[in-house]
């Protein structure tokens, strides 16, 4: 194969500076026997995602426990890149994640990281394919904190608390924030399941954020039940289907 000749491009993500230094040192040590190149590093998930949209990497060494967005969520967003990198997770101690990784044969390194293990993992990574997003989702006990949108070669992160509603279109789901709309390729049912506490279904094709509910109005013309919901910060009303009418009662009481 041709690309064995090419240097393996490695990117480091860890929130602790000394941990990044350690990885850099070890990668340099590996360099003697393995063609590789450190293409960059980041201290948190958002920064990593930003950098990786412009820097191509084959392997990402990714810390699991990081502030704001943990490694497993970041790996899901990374899968939206045109050419997703292979992720090797690093963790000091995370009993839950380790068990889950072993079960699904996902590669990870335990801190303190050993040169030999890193070397093996990098060698395996050459031939590996990225872990599927669905599998990563199973690993994450909590819902994601962000939705990621792939748009014109860039990846946007939208914090889930900014989302007002999600509506299924033909192939896509529209994500509506106060500012604008985005399109994502995910299923509305899966989103409903993942964010059960945050959203409520008002229609076969629509989930609204419970926190965004501003009030209910009777709007005769198009409504199947006659009830419409008004969301904070939005002009247009959303129709509530006959079957979901009960939510009017539930939420106007509160």
């Amino acid at each position: 194969m041709n690309d064995v000749e090419l240097a393996l491009r490695v990117f480091i993500v860890d929130d602790e500076p000394p941990a990044r230094t350690r990885l850099r040192d070890l990668l340099n040590d590996c360099g003697a026997q393995l063609a590789l190149e450190i293409v960059g590093e980041a201290g948190n998930g958002r920064e990593a995602l930003e950098k990786l949209t412009s820097i191509a990497a084959d392997v990402v060494l990714l810390d699991i426990r990081m502030p704001q967005m943990d490694g497993i969520e970041l790996a899901q967003h990374l899968n939206k890149l045109p050419k997703p990198p292979v992720v090797i997770f690093t963790t000091a101690y995370d009993a839950y994640a380790i068990k889950a990784f072993d079960l699904r044969v996902i590669d990870y390194l335990l801190k303190p990281i050993r040169l030999g293990r890193l070397f093996e993992a990098l060698n395996r990574a050459r031939l590996a394919v990225p872990v599927q997003t669905e599998v990563l989702r199973e690993l994450l006990p909590e819902p994601r904190r962000n939705l990621s949108i792939h748009e014109r070669g860039k990846i946007h992160l939208i914090p889930i608390e900014q989302v007002l509603y999600l509506r299924a279109e033909l192939k896509y789901v529209t994500v509506r924030t106060a500012e604008r709309e985005y399109l994502i390729e995910e299923s509305l049912n899966a989103l409903e399941k993942e964010f059960l506490t945050r959203f409520v279904r008002i229609h076969r094709n629509c989930l609204i954020a419970k926190e965004a509910i501003a009030g209910f109005e009777k709007g005769g013309d198009e409504g199947e039940s006659g009830w419409m919901v008004r969301l904070k910060g939005l002009e247009d009303l959303l129709a509530i289907s006959r079957r979901q009418q009960h939510i009017v009662k539930e939420f106007s009481r509160a």
């Binding site: 929130d15 602790e16 500076p17 000394p18 941990a19 990044r20 230094t21 350690r22 040192d25 201290g43 948190n44 958002r46 426990r65 502030p67 704001q68 000091a92 101690y93 995370d94 335990l110 801190k111 303190p112 990281i113």
Partner: protein
């Protein structure tokens, strides 16, 4: 160092209560008066009568209780020296003697003059006080047994909580990260780690000087700062607190560890922890305040384990004389602990 227990700690090795502790006194008063109320209700036929009966009982009960407790407090040092068996006997005898003599010398205050069988009355009075006293002693023994198990459990938990695997492995990894570029700093970090673990693994039950605990906490924070860099900052506000004050060990450090783990680590930009230490008469007031991004969802069990453990230890050591308060808002978390301390001088005087 066994004299270090002279701080108003609640449990004696053998199970006799400490009669100088406010909690013990309150418990005795409440239990005796509840029994008296029960008695009053049994003997009465109307609510007004209950009040009357209570008054009647209390004219005898209160002087007996107060003088017994005063005497017991006075002979406490002697009680501590003898075995539990003799101690119990001595306490019972003292209480019976006090109650019988008050009853006897109180004369017509307690006895209607027409009663003739004063011998029966005296024996009944002595018997009742002996039984109540026995029940109370039994209660305190059970309580101290229960709590001393809680203490050893708590210590185990402290141990486990303090050597949080997350902290251990991350710190080793961080030291490895700097060992090539900053060997001096790596050395210092390993030394701090050794001190921290030595303290965690020692099973000293004694009190430690406040200065030592503060020093240990600073070493711990230095290790965390090594990992987190300038994301972690700590402001110390120590006022009017001499380093020689004696406090139970491992009170401050686990609270700081909580603040770092739950307060600072989840923040990308980091934050600062405020530690306030000051004196309030003969008590020490310790306040730790940190940002808390996860305060909204209280599903963080680890937090509660460490806090419950510290609360249990305070309960055990000081009963009602220590207070413990947690206050949390949308984005902050504050723990305030107030407890009695002893100063070196006082301890020396007592030993």
């Amino acid at each position: 160092m066994n004299k270090a227990l002279s701080i108003r700690q609640n449990t004696r090795q053998h199970g006799l209560p400490n009669f100088g502790n406010l909690g013990t006194l309150l418990r005795i008063l409440i239990i005796c008066n509840s029994l008296a109320l029960l008695q009053a209700i049994i003997m009465s036929d109307s609510w007004l009568d209950v009040a009357q009966q209570m008054l009647q009982i209390n004219t005898l009960l209160t002087p007996v209780l107060l003088s017994s407790m005063l005497l017991l407090w006075l002979i406490q040092p002697w009680l501590n020296r003898i075995s539990y068996r003799y101690g119990t006997l001595a306490v019972m005898m003292l209480v019976v003697t006090v109650s019988v003599s008050i009853y006897h010398f109180g004369g017509e205050l307690y006895r209607p003059p027409e009663r003739i069988d004063s011998y029966f009355d005296l024996v009944r009075c002595g018997l009742l006080s002996a039984v109540v006293c026995g029940v109370l002693l039994f209660y305190f023994r059970l309580r101290s047994k229960m709590l001393s198990r809680a203490l050893s459990d708590a210590r185990l938990q402290v141990l486990r909580a303090r050597i949080r695997p997350h902290f251990l492995f991350n710190t080793i990894n961080a030291v490895l990260g700097i060992v090539r570029t900053k060997p001096k700093q790596a050395e210092a970090a390993l030394e701090d780690m050794a001190d921290l673990f030595r303290m965690a693994m020692s099973d000293a039950q004694d009190l430690v000087p406040l200065g030592t605990e503060i020093q240990l906490s600073k070493q711990y924070l230095a290790l965390e700062q090594l990992r987190m860099g300038d994301r972690l900052s700590v402001n110390w506000h120590i006022r009017d607190v001499p380093d020689e004050l004696l406090i139970p060990p491992l009170l401050l450090q686990p609270l700081l560890e909580n603040a770092v783990y739950h307060g600072i680590e989840p923040l990308t930009e980091g934050g600062s922890i405020n530690v306030t230490l000051n004196r309030n008469a003969d008590r020490l007031r310790l306040k730790i305040e940190n940002p808390c991004p996860e305060c909204a969802d209280l599903s963080h069990q680890g937090n509660r384990v460490a806090l419950r453990n510290i609360r249990e230890r305070l309960d055990l050591l000081f009963d009602v004389e220590a207070s413990y308060q947690v206050e949390s808002g949308k984005d902050f978390y504050r723990v305030e602990v107030i407890f009695p301390f002893v100063s070196r001088a006082k301890e020396r005087a007592q030993s």
